[in-house]
């Protein structure tokens, strides 16, 4: 059952403010003219999120995979959560999530800046990244930046890995993940280049990009070798920020107070391994709360 269905009129009427219509459906069918919110993409201030719709009534079993570019009825947007107003459509983007079902081997990963103005959306298939959008909701606009990211990453590999990179460059699949805004106009992303199913070669870098020219392009400002994995601190911060966006103002304040008290306890721990375990446990606790809220919103 999925209660998160909202009337939007036609998906082509992008600036339309729409009324909330709560509809329960008997089976997982994507209804025409309904807007489905990706609840795990809500901004920290709770105002914006990504959503999707179809141009026709489609059973979940028949929803096409996101890599079908011709005639794909699924469209992705950034919306205002309260009004369901569509701010911007992400061109050629076809990810969906219905009744707990998603396209196998595809993922959509998003992160918002702390001020809830900018968002990165990374679309990955099984082995590589096929689209990255930088969204500015204040304009609003969305630009594709995957080619800029990939060119910068390959330049980094050329200059740091030289012959090792040259030997494999034609076979490497490139994937970006774990995006994070380190400042309002600067973001971090983990970049991986590897050959599917093989342990070597494997190139993992952390890349820092500056947003330039009013958000029309990005420039690599720093690169560093990376483990390719999320740190415990980042996992906690990411979970906290997602949870924050789904809470009421009162609950947000309560969470902030709770977090301050937790930080005092964390800082009193001297052992690094114990501190990491303490952070991981806190992240797990917040993830459980986040998951419970998401399941409620998604009606699962």
């Amino acid at each position: 059952m999925n209660p998160a269905l909202y009337s939007i009129g036609s998906c082509h009427r992008l600036a339309l403010t729409v009324a909330f219509v709560s509809v329960w459906v008997a089976s997982a069918i994507a209804e025409e003219s309904q807007l489905y919110v990706f609840w795990d993409t809500v901004s920290p201030d709770g105002k914006y999120a990504m959503a999707w719709s179809t141009s026709g009534k489609v059973a979940v079993e028949n929803l096409p995979l996101p890599d079908q570019t011709t005639g794909n009825p699924v469209a992705n947007y950034v919306i205002e959560v309260a009004s369901r107003k569509i701010l911007v459509r992400l061109p050629e983007s076809h990810y969906w999530d219905l009744d707990g079902r998603r396209p196998n081997h595809f993922s959509l990963e998003t992160v918002w800046s702390e001020n809830s103005r900018s968002m990165l959306a990374i679309y990955n298939s099984r082995w590589s990244t096929y689209a990255v959008f930088l969204v500015d909701v204040s304009v609003p606009k969305a630009i594709r930046i995957e080619n800029q990211l990939e060119a910068s990453f390959k330049q980094t590999l050329r200059s740091t890995q030289r012959r090792h990179y040259a030997k494999y460059r034609d076979r490497l699949e490139v994937m970006f993940r774990s995006p994070w805004f380190v400042a309002p106009e600067r973001f971090y992303v983990t970049a991986n280049a590897s050959i599917p199913k093989q342990e070597n070669p494997n190139f993992d870098f952390g890349l820092y990009f500056q947003i330039q020219n009013g958000g029309t392009n990005v420039r690599l400002v720093k690169s560093e070798p990376s483990s390719g994995e999320e740190s415990a601190d980042r996992l906690l911060n990411r979970t906290y920020r997602k949870l924050q966006g789904l809470l009421s103002a009162v609950d947000q304040k309560s969470l902030a107070e709770e977090e301050r008290a937790w930080l005092i306890k964390r800082d009193a721990i001297n052992s690094e391994s114990e501190k990491k375990a303490f952070i991981v446990a806190r992240a797990a606790e917040l993830q459980t709360r986040l998951q419970n809220i998401l399941e409620t919103r998604e009606g699962r």
Partner: protein
């Protein structure tokens, strides 16, 4: 117990006592290695792409490094059986067997697909090791037989999904959460009466 990887929001741990690696996550579905060994359909069909899985998104054909997923025929195309069934590969490979039988059949063998960071960070040999997957109180014995993309955590074969009551379509199947993964690096798996070899990278 120590944390050996954090993939997305999933924390992967390894126990000190028996080297057990474990995590809880959703589960994606892998069809690779289904080459008709047991009379079941092939994972991929070429050029029609009407096999169990999507030859573009899942095998990366033709723009990605598809030669690591499909068996190339030497002239720039996937090798088929002559009837449009394309041979695919798993990281685990049975030595000395033919192209049709050397991969692990996703439709017949419950197997686990391991994230490359988890494989790298785990103590002990991972590929070929004993695994157990549990979902809603049901468990299935499995083998760690394949390696996923760097972004994925929690992936099982079609046979494992069917044994656990998880939607098993490699195109739209899988489950978001609630799957417990365990494996024991260095301990050979025994599945369907076959003892697997431990295979280093």
């Amino acid at each position: 117990m120590s944390t050996i990887a954090i993939i997305g929001s999933v924390v992967v741990s390894q126990d000190d006592a028996d080297d057990r690696v474990h995590w809880q996550s959703g589960a994606a579905i892998d069809a690779d290695g289904a080459n008709g060994q047991n009379g079941n359909p092939f994972a991929y069909r070429y050029p029609t792409n009407d096999g169990l899985d999507n030859i573009h998104g899942s095998a990366g054909f033709p723009n990605g490094d598809w030669q690591s997923i499909l068996v190339p025929d030497g002239s720039g195309h996937p090798l088929t059986d002559g009837n449009g069934n394309a041979y695919s590969q798993t990281t685990y490979t049975w030595p000395g067997r033919s192209v049709a039988t050397r991969a692990v059949d996703a439709t017949a063998v419950p197997y686990v697909v391991v994230n490359p960071h988890v494989r790298r960070n785990a103590k002990g040999i991972v590929i070929g090791s004993k695994a157990v997957v549990t979902y809603q109180g049901n468990s299935v014995d499995a083998v760690v037989a394949d390696v996923s993309g760097p972004n994925d955590i929690g992936e099982i074969s079609i046979a494992a999904a069917e044994a656990l009551g998880i939607r098993s379509s490699p195109r739209t199947g899988g489950v978001d959460s609630g799957v417990q993964f365990e494996f024991w690096p260095g301990t050979p798996a025994v599945v369907n009466g076959e003892t697997y070899l431990l295979q280093r990278a």
